[in-house]
């Protein structure tokens, strides 16, 4: 543990953050001590709800209106907690800057990159518009955006997620900050982009000599880039120290649990004698976008002639970055999207382009689980109503009492208390909600389940539990899974065969073991390198 010295730039001293809510005080941060020395990288790690973001937001005076703070936050020795906005703004955005998780929404869509980059520079008074414009081009070059002179005139929608995050970093660097606070800066990005952004940040830090505070839940990132780590749990720092020490010899139970949270194990290969549940040949999905009056429509091919064969009890992992067409493929297989070519055979029935009526009985057996457990449950229905909705359609003869009984069974199956069935989704955590979503599909006794990134929105420790639950359900009911994910660790733990997709095409396909231990294609190798998996 390094001591506070004259090198300390930012010091957070017994900071407490409380929120006043209808249901009483919520103590989000309970007396946290954190210090950041100049030029070092400090990571604050914890699961969602651990107060790691609120600590930094409070230090920057960015709390929501009902937040109350106690303690001190010293920037180079002077307390900035509770000072006026005008005073705060001299430091905030100039000497201490922040970048946020969501690069898609942190840029204003109405202004060019140049305008958004220059505005804070001019505001802080060190630049005129003319010099600021010059500096903007330099900054874009610094963060590695190709053709900076041209890109500076672009609007945010013309850039990819990774590029936008680079612009955000450029914006944060504009006034030569002492500290850059990065709040989950790579969570919303693909693995390969994530690796590039991390590399960029490490490189910038070396060249500019600023301190970086990294708020994240991803221990892989922490291990790679940080000097010191603070582990936070429910508003308190439970462990702190050098990265090497923490990773090599964790003391606190919670830290050990976090380090152990990567899903492990692998799935045994299903024998070839099992019947083929899903047989898809050359499936093609196209989207048309209107380009204008009397012009031919622009056709975007999202899925290009993809074939697959999935046997009963098998899990096919579909891996790819966002925009690779993996979700589209999953929906096309379920006939939720029209296919432009190829055919899909389910248990011997050709269901390609089948009419709604013909699909209706099959809907019971073919289920879909979504990524976002917050969006996939209707907020105005109780858990019981959500779970039993499928029964209303497929087993309308059931009485209300029988449905209730089935709901109880389904909740027990996903290890949840059946007494919860009269509650509403917003009362549950992400992991619990995903369990509810799984219960909703299990109640119908499906055969084929398409899992569309079912663990991506969850914390690592919860991920592990959900993966285990899914594996157990598969064993018990002989389910067949199409497991769509960009998270290679989870895919490795779940699937026996893997298909790697890029831009709507299959790059590589084969047994999971082979692909992870001996990838053949460059793209697969790149993905694996970026994910930095631990050996199984």
């Amino acid at each position: 543990m390094s001591k506070i010295n004259e090198n300390t730039v930012l010091e957070i001293d017994t900071l407490k953050v409380d929120f006043e809510t209808n249901t009483g005080m919520v103590h989000a941060v309970k007396g946290v001590n954190i210090h950041v020395d100049s030029g070092e990288t400090v990571a604050i790690v914890g699961e969602s709800g651990s107060g790691k973001s609120q600590t930094m937001m409070a230090a920057m005076g960015l709390l929501a209106g009902n937040g109350i703070t106690h303690g001190e936050v010293r920037y180079r020795g002077t307390n900035i907690l509770g000072s006026s906005i005008r005073q705060l703004n001299k430091i905030r955005g100039a000497k201490v800057t922040m970048i946020f998780q969501e690069p898609m929404t942190s840029l204003d869509p109405l202004y060019t990159i140049e305008r958004q980059l220059c505005e804070p520079m001019v505001e802080h008074g060190e630049y005129t518009w003319a010099t600021a414009k010059k500096r903007a081009v330099e900054l874009l070059e610094l963060v590695g955006i190709p053709e900076p002179a041209r890109k500076v005139k672009a609007f945010p929608y013309e850039m990819s997620g990774g590029q936008r995050q680079r612009v955000m970093i450029a914006m944060a660097l504009a006034n030569d900050p002492d500290i850059l606070i990065a709040d989950e800066p790579t969570t919303a990005l693909d693995v390969t982009t994530q690796a590039q952004i991390l590399e960029l940040m490490a490189d910038l830090q070396k060249r500019l000599g600023m301190a970086v505070v990294f708020i994240t839940h991803d221990l892989g990132i922490v291990e790679r880039i940080s000097d010191r780590v603070y582990v936070m749990k429910s508003g308190e720092v439970v462990e702190e120290g050098n990265t090497k020490e923490i990773f090599g010899n964790p003391q606190h139970e919670y830290t050990k649990m976090l380090l152990d949270a990567e899903p492990t194990g692998s799935k045994a290969v299903v024998p070839d004698s099992n019947p083929i549940v899903l047989d898809a040949k050359d499936v093609r999905v196209e989207f048309e976008t209107e380009t204008g009056f009397l012009k031919p429509n622009h056709v975007l091919r999202a899925v290009n002639d993809i074939s697959m064969e999935v046997r009963e009890g098998q899990t096919l992992g579909i891996v790819g970055e966002s925009g690779s067409g993996k979700s589209t493929l999953g929906r096309a297989v379920l006939q939720l999207l029209p296919t432009a070519g190829g055919r899909v055979v389910y248990l011997g029935n050709d269901i390609t382009g089948a009419a709604k009526k013909k699909m209706q009985p099959l809907r019971k057996e073919m289920q879909l689980i979504f990524q976002d457990p917050f969006g996939s449950l209707s907020p105005r229905m109780t858990v019981g109503q959500i779970i039993t909705e499928g029964l209303l359609v497929h087993e309308p003869q059931l009485s209300a009492k029988e449905r209730d009984l089935r709901a109880i069974q389904a909740l027990e199956e996903v290890s949840m208390d059946p007494a919860m069935r009269n509650r509403y989704p917003h009362e549950f955590s992400g992991g619990q909600r995903q369990r509810i979503a799984i219960a909703r599909t299990m109640i119908l006794n499906p055969k084929l389940v398409v899992l569309d990134e079912p663990t991506s929105a969850l914390d690592r420790t919860v991920q592990k539990q959900v993966v285990e639950l899914l594996r157990n359900l598969q064993k018990e009911h002989g389910l067949t899974y199409l497991f769509i994910s960009h998270d290679l660790a989870v895919v490795r733990a779940m699937s026996d065969t893997v298909m790697v997709m890029q831009k709507g095409e299959v790059v590589e396909k084969g047994l999971a073991e082979e692909i992870f231990s001996n990838p053949k294609e460059d793209y697969t190798k790149e993905l694996l390198a970026a994910a930095a998996l631990k050996p199984a």
Binding site: Q360, S376, S378, T382, V393, E412, R440
Partner: protein, 375 residues
Amino acid sequence: MSVTSDQLKEAPKMGRSLWDDARDRLLANKAAVTSLIVLAVITLLSVVGPMLTPHPYDQVYRDYVKKPASLEAYPKQDEIQPAFAKIAKRARMTIDSYELNDGKVTATVTSRRKLDERYARYFDRSDLFESAAISNISSDKKSATVTADIQYMHFYFGTDANGRDMLTRTLIAGRVSLTIGLLATFVAISIGVFWGAASGYFGGRVDLVMMRVVDILYSLPFIFFVIMLVVFFGRNFVLMFIAVGAVEWLDMARIVRGQTLSIKRQEYVQAAEAMGVEGGGILKRHIIPNTLGPVVIYMTLLVPKVILLESFLSFLGLGVQEPMTSWGVLISEGARNLQGAAWMLVFPAIFLTSTLFALNFIGDGLRDALDPKDR
């Protein structure tokens, strides 16, 4: 998997729905709660009040035209003698002595024609006196004693240009205005929500046709529409609901359609579709309940709008007909009599504006309660 029987018997505790949360937030809002109370009081007064006031809403008191609002009873002390004298003069009597005692007038009168007991009717016919009697008629029938009880009446809000009690009329007008406000809003919301949700959810050609219908109805001038209805069906109270409801649902349909377009892309709707739930079920269980927040807010803003619209129609003579009345009618009458009879405008105006104020505050409170993020 074991389900014990007592697990079934004992229904688990209900969780807090979003509506419960919204209600708590609304009840914490002082302005909204005050407004709710004000609105409840006005509604209660309008419903019960006309039965409790001493005057029917259509009773005309010819002797009390445009009397100012007063807590004291009418007739006032100094009005009695002139009124009595006026009646006596009409009955061709001359008053010899006049005495006012304990709410009773006793007077001796003489007349050139023969007096008769039936002449007491002259006094009874007035709104000021009751149970008048002529007694002690002298033998030549030229002089007699007239006794009459004074009929004391209260007009707390004064009387209108026809001598009708403004209190009763204001309250009865509240019935009409609030009924129209609530019923027409209900009609508008029902049609609008259904139309908008269906149009937004089914999309494509259905959407195109349904929204063009809305566009066409939008382009019809409202007044023209109402006049047409009146021409075909004659003046009718029910017509007001139809006219107002038929126009006001258009906004609602557009709002709900916009909401639906964003809700239908939500994953819970896709999840229901993937499960094979039909359009009707999705509309009923997923889309409509989730659009209700903005609908409720719009409703509180629509009620005042409808009340004002009704006032406008009544002002033009296309709305409610005399002797039935509404706040709009009372206010337009009051405005005409503003000089010298301000109470005719003030009281209905107070009721109307407090109702509108209350509804707007409730709408504001509801918006904060239902969308805590947008604060």
